[in-house]
């Protein structure tokens, strides 16, 4: 049974921060990935492209590229964008938010800039 998460309600409605160092450091992409997608952080998880989770964006008001990069583009080290979107299905998402995620998947995972502190 595929898990379904209402991102806006169960996590937060404003998804902008990559990690604790960005802006107010809350509700970060790292936090989301470690809470809901930690099982995907292995090679084993990507051996097949069956769905793992459904993310419902109905109650998400804002999404930023940094958050999307940390949550989605992080997995480009395991699989291609098409496969990532088969494993992590998106529901009730606007075309703008979808294009933000698409941009991040196509651009690849950006490493942290070391001198943020």
């Amino acid at each position: 049974m595929i898990k379904k998460i209402d991102v806006g309600t169960e996590f937060y409605h404003s998804l902008t921060n990559r990690n604790y160092q960005q802006r107010d450091g809350k509700n970060t992409g790292v936090g989301f990935r470690e809470t809901y997608l930690s099982e995907l952080d292995t090679d084993e998880a990507w051996k097949d492209d069956s769905g793992f989770i459904i993310l419902d964006f109905t109650n998400v008001k804002k999404m930023g590229p940094s958050w999307a990069n940390e949550v989605f583009a992080y997995f480009t080290k395991y699989a291609k964008p098409k496969i990532i979107l088969k494993k992590i299905k998106l529901e009730n998402i606007s075309r703008v938010k979808k294009s933000i995620i698409q941009n991040e998947l196509e651009g690849g995972y950006s490493r942290e800039i070391g001198f943020m502190a």
Partner: protein, 225 residues
Amino acid sequence: MDSWHKIKMNNKYIYVFLAIIFFFVFLTHIDGMATGLCYWLSQKNNFLALIFCAFIEDPININDLNTSISIITKCLNIIIGVGGLFLGIYYFSSRISYDREAAAIEKKNIRLNMILDQLNIYDGFVSKILRMDFQDEIMLEKIRDKVERSFELVQLLIENNDAILNLTDEDIQTVTKVNAYVDKCEIMIIRYPFILEQEIDFKEQKREYIPLIQDARMVCLQNMG
């Protein structure tokens, strides 16, 4: 154009109205047309002539030139009248479609102009950072906050007017690419003390940013009607 929009008429009632007018025009000219048809069919010994004879009110002398001219004139009148009615229907119907299309284009242009204005505002704040036009950390953070807020509005405008704008997925991606770059790059992340310490300038970031904002502006301009 506004008056056309205010008239809310269902096309099928217009056709009924015009059909009634056509029927009365036909009735007033039927005797002339029927006489002509009756004469023509009877010449060909066609039994259908009997049907049209029923419409002839007064006995007439077909050989009388005046009567012939009158019959021809009435037949022509009915043909021109009906033709004119159909032209009128066609014009009215076309005018309504044209006005609807023009209104849709106007709506779309207004929204594209709003997005373009907001992109220009966003560009203004990003350029401030690229030019190092800030004196302290507080000012830098204020500008960064404005950069975020201004692009939020661009996203909201596109999201909430999707049906009117009818942009392609590629167009939306081109617009969001600008902030995809800016949000993750050094201009939004590096702390002020580090900028001073390392004497950082943002020339490389400027080179990468400018084509992206230009492409985003082009999306708006190319989609204007």
